[in-house]
Amino acid sequence: MLQPLFDFLIQGGVPRETLIVLLMFPIVASLIVAARQIVGIKAFGIYTPLIITFAFLEIDIKYGSAIFVTSLIVASVMRFMFQRLRMLYLPKMALILSITAMTMFLILIEGVLQDRTVLIDLSVYQMLIIITMVEKFINVQIEKGYRTAVILATETLALATVGYYVITNEWFQNLVFQTPLIIAVFFLVIIFLGRYEGLRLSEYIRFRKVIENR
């Protein structure tokens, strides 16, 4: 049913990747929702894992996760160093983010030295998207402590990784592209999860003492 529309767009010059990304969006979104409501994986909300999944799609999971981890480490060190500095929130965050962005030069230098073309050709916008996640990370660190921030960052990385493998799966891509109506199922999943009242898997563990004591 949607095939004529796709043909029309592709003939008009819209890249196939664009269509795939749009079609995959509700799928990744429902994956993140299921992780939260059924498993209990919180990550940094919905936006961050979603956008990082698609950033990984552009720059490959290997380099994507490397940038992810690097920027977190740099940001943590910066925050620790600037903790005693009397500075307003926004300028301080701008400073930390900018310094984190500058460290990307190191990754580029490494790419040139090792002559890794993939690294040199990295899409700079995807890099910056990953870096902006640092703001979330630091906010959580301020409000809920370092431990929680690291846990949530790890969860975000894990979710983005799973999301990455789902949307790069060729069989799955073909399935979605050929029968696009399948995404209706994922819309239903999201709506169902929006009304789901059951315990999350993590809560069975959290409340195990209560269950044992019945």
Binding site: G40, L88, E197, L199, F207, K209
Partner: protein, 478 residues
């Protein structure tokens, strides 16, 4: 099969999904959530409704108000807080004031650890608050001064630095579950559970603590000490439940966690109301919430008294209380401490043993002397005992006893209540009885006890059948 049962049971637990969807959303309207999140407006509405809360001593909304603020209005002890603070950031507790002012004539306050702060230091801190340094969104904030809560003696050994608070979950006007939160070294004096505070479950019926958790793990004592966390009786329990219900009422929250602290002088005061109460309270109480919430869901409860009674009946764990309610009799243990009163009404606590085989109670002769009641024994010594006592038949013995007691009764001022003729191990003897005021559990009785020599026995007092009329005995608990 066991796994299946565990699964069925686990459906009684309240999880995040269900809490958000079925309890917070339908019961807590946005504008009322906003009200309780605004600490100053919240305080004002409590004060208007005569619900005790730490008094508001001053509000500073902007730098103009700060420059116009009269520092002489402040008492020598107070707390300075940001309105939108979180996790206790930006709070300064002032414990006292130096008698001497600074050279420039400013007041000099003292915070924890004897650190001194002058007005300039406080003004700087307030400027930081106004800038939003401590606010959740880092947007401009409001600073306020409030009365400092003084720690009650009872909690002193249990609390590290901060003040313990009591969280009561109120749903549909009924107090559903409660816990005591203790600040610890790990939580740096904060009572929040996810910051490492201790959560102690409380029996709704009695206000006595049950189990304790720290970081979702069960513990018996305060870490690093021998202080047992169970069995603490929270003072003013009914008042606590009452103000929790009233706070939920005036803030129009159908599902709320009310935080109450006990002030040394004022008793229970409300600190905060939370429209999104956490779920760890279920672990502290080892009891699921959802089951309780469903029980009171559709009830229409008019008075707070009725709500408290209902909560106690429905959720109180102590079986004793239920039995007491049904039979009107109090449950006591086989061994327990009772109170004796001598003629001057001086109270003395002694360990007693319940003996359902004995008709009347008996008291050790030495204990009687310690109570200063030797005169009973003097009177007894004056009684003439027939020499042929040992050879008497049982009829003659009863006759003798009646005769002696008739004689005693003639004197209303006597201390020796009566005598008994009993078969002792080596023959027949006279035994003195004394009337004593005693208190068992919460009942005061006039007991007629025999005086015996219980030297070397563990319990100087034996509770006999005649004094046990109002009690049921639980032989299991010690």
């Amino acid at each position: 099969m066991k796994l299946f049962e565990a699964f069925i049971f686990s459906q009684k637990i309240l999880g995040m999904n269900s809490r958000n969807l079925s309890y917070i959303k339908p019961n807590n309207k946005k504008r009322w959530i906003k009200l309780v999140d605004d600490k100053i407006r919240f305080k004002k509405i409590l004060e208007k409704n005569d619900i005790p809360t730490p008094k508001l001593l001053g509000v500073i909304r902007n730098s103009k108000e700060l420059s116009e603020f009269d520092w002489n209005d402040l008492p020598s002890s107070f707390v300075l807080k940001p309105t939108n603070g979180f996790g206790g950031e930006g709070i300064i507790v002032i414990f006292g004031e130096n008698k001497k002012r600074t050279e420039s004539g400013e007041r000099l306050w003292v915070k924890g650890k004897g650190v001194k702060l002058d007005e300039t230091a406080l003004r700087n801190h307030i400027n930081n608050i106004l800038d939003g340094t401590y606010s959740r969104t880092n947007s401009p904030d409001v600073a306020f001064f409030e009365e400092r809560i003084k720690l009650t003696k009872l909690f002193k050994p249990f609390a590290y630095k901060g003040i313990p608070d009591i969280r009561v979950i109120v749903y549909n006007r009924v107090p559903i579950m409660a816990m005591l939160r203790l600040p610890t070294r790990e939580s740096d004096g904060k009572a929040n559970l996810h910051q490492g505070g201790i959560g102690v479950g409380i029996d709704i019926a009695t206000g006595v603590t049950t189990n304790a958790i720290m970081k979702d793990q069960m513990i018996d004592t305060v870490p690093g000490t021998r202080l047992v966390l169970s069995g603490i009786r929270i003072p003013h329990w009914d008042d606590i439940l009452d103000i929790a219900i009233r706070t939920a009422d005036v803030t129009k929250l159908g599902f709320a966690g009310i935080d109450i602290v006990i002030d040394r002088d004022q008793g229970p005061v409300v600190l905060e109301a939370n429209a999104r109460p956490g779920l760890a309270i279920q672990i502290a109480n080892l009891a699921p919430l959802k089951e309780r919430l469903e029980k009171v869901k559709d009830l229409k409860i008019k008075t707070t008294k009725r709500a408290i009674r209902l909560a106690k009946n429905l959720f109180g764990g102590e079986i004793e209380e239920e039995i007491e309610e049904m039979t009107g009799k109090q449950v006591i243990k086989l061994h327990q401490v009772i109170t004796l009163y001598n003629q001057d009404e001086t109270a003395r606590e002694v360990p007693a043993k319940v003996d359902t085989g004995a008709d009347s109670s008996s008291i050790d002769i030495n204990l009687l002397k310690e109570l200063g009641m030797d005169y009973v024994l003097d009177e007894f010594a004056h009684i003439e005992v027939p020499e042929n006592l040992a050879e008497m038949s049982s009829e003659e013995r009863i006759a003798l006893m009646e005769k002696l007691n008739k004689k005693l009764k003639k004197n209303p001022d006597r201390h020796l209540h009566r005598v008994g003729v009993i078969k002792a191990g080596n023959g027949i003897a006279l035994r003195p009885y004394v009337k004593l005021k005693i208190k068992v559990g919460n009942k005061v009785l006039n007991s007629v006890c025999s005086i015996t020599d219980r030297t070397g026995l563990k319990y100087p007092f034996l509770l006999g059948k005649k004094d046990l009329k109002h009690f049921l005995i639980d032989p299991v608990t010690y």
